[in-house]
Structure formats: structure tokens, C-alpha cells
């Protein structure tokens, strides 16, 4: 029995000290803390998913009807409690249960080994987990950048260590290569990456970083030329302690700006363009480097294919479970229906208190998968929705046969949200 636990975003825990940010004005997004709900496709029957809050009862029944019959343990009902799920699990009532579950062969599986999850793992006897410092190091985009330069000595990506250095090299790169990309070492999705096309904008960014630098933040940024890509994709691997690798799946990643927006199976054309013997050789080299660093566990390696057909095998390493891996599992689960899963999210003002009404409206519109409909969406989360004025996120899987089918399914979902008076941001 696996006991799955997640807390989001893991990247925050890996940053060492106070690091400057490219987008320093961040509203607290409390709904991200409930993203643990979407991990359920990674569970087998009998596994337990520990979530921050209990899933909506209607959603639980619906998922069970589709065949997802894992157990669930919600850690709190108190929405003002800001502790992460690992800390909540340490409360007496859960700790007793956890001890009992571990005594009968339970295995704690964290979304990622972080400074928050490691103490829990150790307390419950998972002594062979990878040290947090190793996990933090290999998850840094600095580590990926240095490895990329080892794999390809001609790679022009560099790490800058101050606002002044970023201005100096950024200006030089803009003149030499044209548009550039700046990345934070532990940025989450697109929130820690910006594209820059002019020296004026570079100076604005550097000014913002200099303000943070003066207040004691460390400025370390990755700088690279902007690449004209055709598509992004990711490979999911289980890296075993002895260094052997087990491929767990491949997915195409849809990116808006620089942020993740969806995962879906690769088209045969894209798979043929991306998955060359040389690509897999590089993936093996990356895994060897991870093993040499002392890492073992789940890995997601992001890659891309450029417009000119070149493959960039290492964009970044994510040494943890990943949303794309969840979609790979969803695809396996629904394969019998001859549909594919497009896993995405919508930022919306739909309130979680009206989730049942939303499910009913979606079913009535023929847009809920399994409710008499072979097309449609599977809503994946309820607590990621907002409440009151604050907007939240609706995570969903849209099942589709072809791209037209997918467009129709998503349009129907938007239509249902619109009819319920929910805004889509």
C-alpha cells in the first residue's frame, strides 16, 4: 500500500536563503495548496492519498464510478490552517493512523523530497530517502544549465550572480543572439521565467532585481538565447538506487508564454521527430549524472524540438513526480475507451461551494465523461476552486479522439462555466 502525500509548490522549499524573483509581486494563491487532490491517478486500488482537505463528496463518488477506488485521508477542515500537508499529518490523530499503516507495510511516497517532507519520511522510518540537499541541487535550473554545458560545450547558457552581471551579459546576449530568456534557479512553472526582447526591458528587470538585491536577496539568474521551438515534451523516469532506469512515460507539454498549460500524449509525428536514439542516449547520460549526484526516485526531464528540427534534450530536470506523469496514468486508465487525455486547468471564479451544481450542469450539457457520455471532461479537483471573491483553478482532463473533438469538449466546458456565471481568467 502506497501512502501518497504532496505539498505544493515543492520548488519553494529547495531555494537556499532569500532568492530574488523576476516576478516579486505574488498574491498568495491558497488554491495551489490543494493541488494534492489531482494526484489520485497515481494511486492504485488500496493506496491512500493524503490530501489537505476532503474532496467534494460528489467528486469522490464520480471518480469512484470511473474506477478510481483509492482511499483518501483528509488532514484538516480548518481552511485558515496554513501548515503544509506533511506538518498536518504529524498531528496526533493522523500520526497514530500513519504509524499503524506503516506497521502493516505502508510506504510513504511524497510528491517530492523537500525540506518539509524529509522530516516526516525520517520519523516514519523511510531512512533511505535521498538527502534534501541533493534533491534541491539537482532540481535547480543551475544544475540543469551546468549539465547541459557538459553535454554540449557549445551551449551558450550561463549563470549570472548579480543584477550588474545580468545587465552586462544580458546586453551582450541581446546584441549577439537577439531575444533572450532569463530564469530563476527554482522558478515554478512559468512564474520564474521571462523573455526579453529589448535592452530597455532588460534594464527594467535588472532595476527590479537590484531593489531586491539591496534588501538582502541573492540574485542568481540563468541567461540563455531564446530558442524558436516547435513543441515541448517530457519523459518520466524512475531512477533506481543502483542507477538503472525505468521509463514511465512520455507526454507532450503545452506551454503558454513560459508556463505549463497542459499535458497530452505525443502525436506519432512529434514522437518520431523527438525520440531519436541520440535523444535516448542523452537521457541516459542525464540519469547517470543524477545517479552520480546521489539521486534516486522519480524524474521528469523536459525537452523540446526546435522549428529547425533540432532536439534540445535537456531544458530542465525535475527530480520529483510531475503533472505529466499523472496524465500518463490517466491515459492508461482510459485507454479502454479509445480516448486520450488532455490534462489542463482553467483559472476561474467558479466557487467550490457550487461544485455539485457545476457537475450537474456539465452532465446535463453532455460534457461530463462517463455520465452517459464517452466524450467530455473529468474534473480532477474541487478544493483548488476559490471561494468568495478570490479566483481559483479547475483542474480537468478533457478526453478526446482528435483535435476537433478536443476543441469542442473544452468549448463546452467554457460554455457551462459561463452559464453558471463563472468568469474564466
Amino acid at each position: 500500500m502506497n501512502i501518497l502525500v504532496g505539498s505544493f509548490p515543492a520548488e519553494q522549499s529547495w531555494a537556499s536563503g532569500k532568492e530574488a524573483r523576476l516576478n516579486p509581486f505574488r498574491a498568495a494563491d491558497l488554491t495551489v495548496g490543494s493541488l494534492d487532490e489531482v494526484l489520485f491517478p497515481l494511486c492504485d486500488d488500496g493506496d491512500v492519498l493524503c490530501t489537505r482537505f476532503a474532496r467534494s463528496e460528489r467528486l469522490r463518488e464520480y471518480h469512484a464510478m470511473l474506477g478510481f477506488r483509492h482511499d483518501e485521508r483528509a488532514c484538516t477542515e480548518d481552511r485558515s490552517d496554513r501548515r503544509d500537508t506533511y506538518a498536518l499529518l504529524d498531528d496526533e490523530v493522523h500520526a497514530e493512523w500513519l504509524k499503524g499503516a506503516m506497521a502493516v507495510g505502508g510506504r510513504l511516497v511524497p510528491w517530492a523530497v523537500t525540506r518539509d517532507s524529509a522530516p516526516l519520511l525520517e520519523r516514519y522510518g523511510v531512512v533511505d530517502h535521498v538527502p534534501v540537499d541533493v534533491v534541491a541541487r539537482v532540481n535547480s535550473k543551475i544544475w540543469s544549465t551546468e549539465l547541459r554545458r557538459r553535454i554540449d560545450p557549445g551551449d551558450p547558457s550561463i549563470v549570472t550572480s548579480s543584477a550588474a552581471e545580468l545587465l552586462h551579459f544580458g546586453t551582450d546576449y541581446l546584441r549577439r543572439y537577439g531575444p533572450i530568456v532569463i530564469k530563476e534557479p527554482h522558478g515554478v512553472s512559468g512564474g520564474g521565467t521571462v523573455g526579453v526582447e529589448s535592452e530597455h526591458r532588460l534594464r527594467q528587470i535588472v532595476d527590479s532585481l537590484a531593489v531586491q538585491e539591496r534588501s538582502g536577496c541573492r540574485v542568481r539568474m540563468i541567461l540563455e538565447p531564446f530558442l524558436n521551438k516547435l513543441f515541448d515534451f517530457s519523459i518520466y523516469i524512475d531512477l533506481l538506487p543502483d542507477g538503472h532506469i525505468r521509463q514511465a512515460g512520455l507526454q507532450e507539454a503545452l506551454v503558454t508564454g513560459f508556463g505549463w498549460s497542459a499535458a497530452m500524449p505525443m502525436t506519432p509525428e512529434h514522437e518520431a521527430a523527438a525520440c531519436t536514439p541520440r535523444y535516448f542516449d542523452t537521457i541516459e547520460n542525464i540519469c547517470r549524472a543524477l545517479h552520480e549526484e546521489g539521486y534516486a526516485g522519480p524524474v521528469c526531464i523536459d525537452s523540446m524540438v526546435l522549428a529547425n528540427g533540432d532536439i534540445v534534450p535537456l531544458v530542465e530536470v525535475n527530480a520529483r513526480l510531475s503533472l505529466g506523469r499523472i496524465n500518463h496514468r490517466l491515459n492508461t486508465a482510459i485507454a479502454v475507451h479509445r480516448r486520450k487525455s488532455y490534462f489542463s486547468m482553467i483559472r476561474t471564479s467558479l466557487e467550490r461551494e457550487t461544485f455539485g451544481e457545476f457537475l450537474d450542469a456539465l452532465a446535463a450539457a453532455g460534457g461530463l465523461f462517463g455520465a452517459g457520455s464517452e466524450a467530455g471532461v473529468i474534473p480532477l479537483s474541487s478544493n483548488t476552486l476559490g471561494s468568495g471573491r478570490a479566483p481559483g483553478r479547475l483542474y480537468f482532463s478533457a478526453l478526446f479522439g482528435d483535435s476537433l473533438d478536443l476543441q469542442r469538449t473544452i468549448a463546452r466546458l467554457h460554455d457551462v462555466l459561463g452559464r453558471l456565471g463563472a468568469q474564466i481568467f
Binding site: 523576476l22 516576478n23 516579486p24 509581486f25 505574488r26 498574491a27 512559468g190 512564474g191 521571462v194 526591458r201 527594467q204 528587470i205 532595476d207 527590479s208 531593489v211 534588501s215 503558454t256 508564454g257 508556463g259 483559472r347 471564479s349 471573491r389 478570490a390 479566483p391 467554457h414 459561463g418 468568469q423 474564466i424 481568467f425
Partner: protein, 92 residues
Amino acid sequence: MNEASAQITPEKLSSMIASFLTEMRKGTSVVPVVVTPETNLLDDVGLDSLEITELIYRLEDAAGAKLDLDRLELRHFRRVRDFAEFIDESKR
């Protein structure tokens, strides 16, 4: 005083933000973005961190002034009116 350094009224700022968000969200948002001086930029239109940063840089260009980033806080995005006041103070 040239046009760039003219005062940005809450009404003018509302219109600039609406037009900026419509452009940024082309292809995702299904309803037109309505912004008034009383709009809460975080809750009512769901401004995210990337949009906030991009908005700041664009407003610096439009206002012809550097915003005082040392003093800028999330509370300034609660109402367009508050943000307009902050921009005005930055220019003094």
C-alpha cells in the same frame, strides 16, 4: 508637461489595464475584461504575478516615470484607484 508625464487618472488607468489584459489573455479568456476604478485587480480580474510584473513595466513606459518598486506592495493592486494614486506619487 508632455503627454507621457501627464497624470494617469483612475479612469484612464482602468482603460489601459483592460486593454492590456485583453491582449495578454487573447485565446484564453472568454469574456471581455471589464475594469473600473473600483475593480480589485487580484480578485475581480485575477491578475497573476506575471501579469502584475508586465503591467508595471508597461505602465512605467506609458507614465514616463519609474515606479518606486521599494514601496510597491500587493495592497496597491486591491483597487485601480489605489494603484493610480501610487503611480502618481511615484512621479512626484
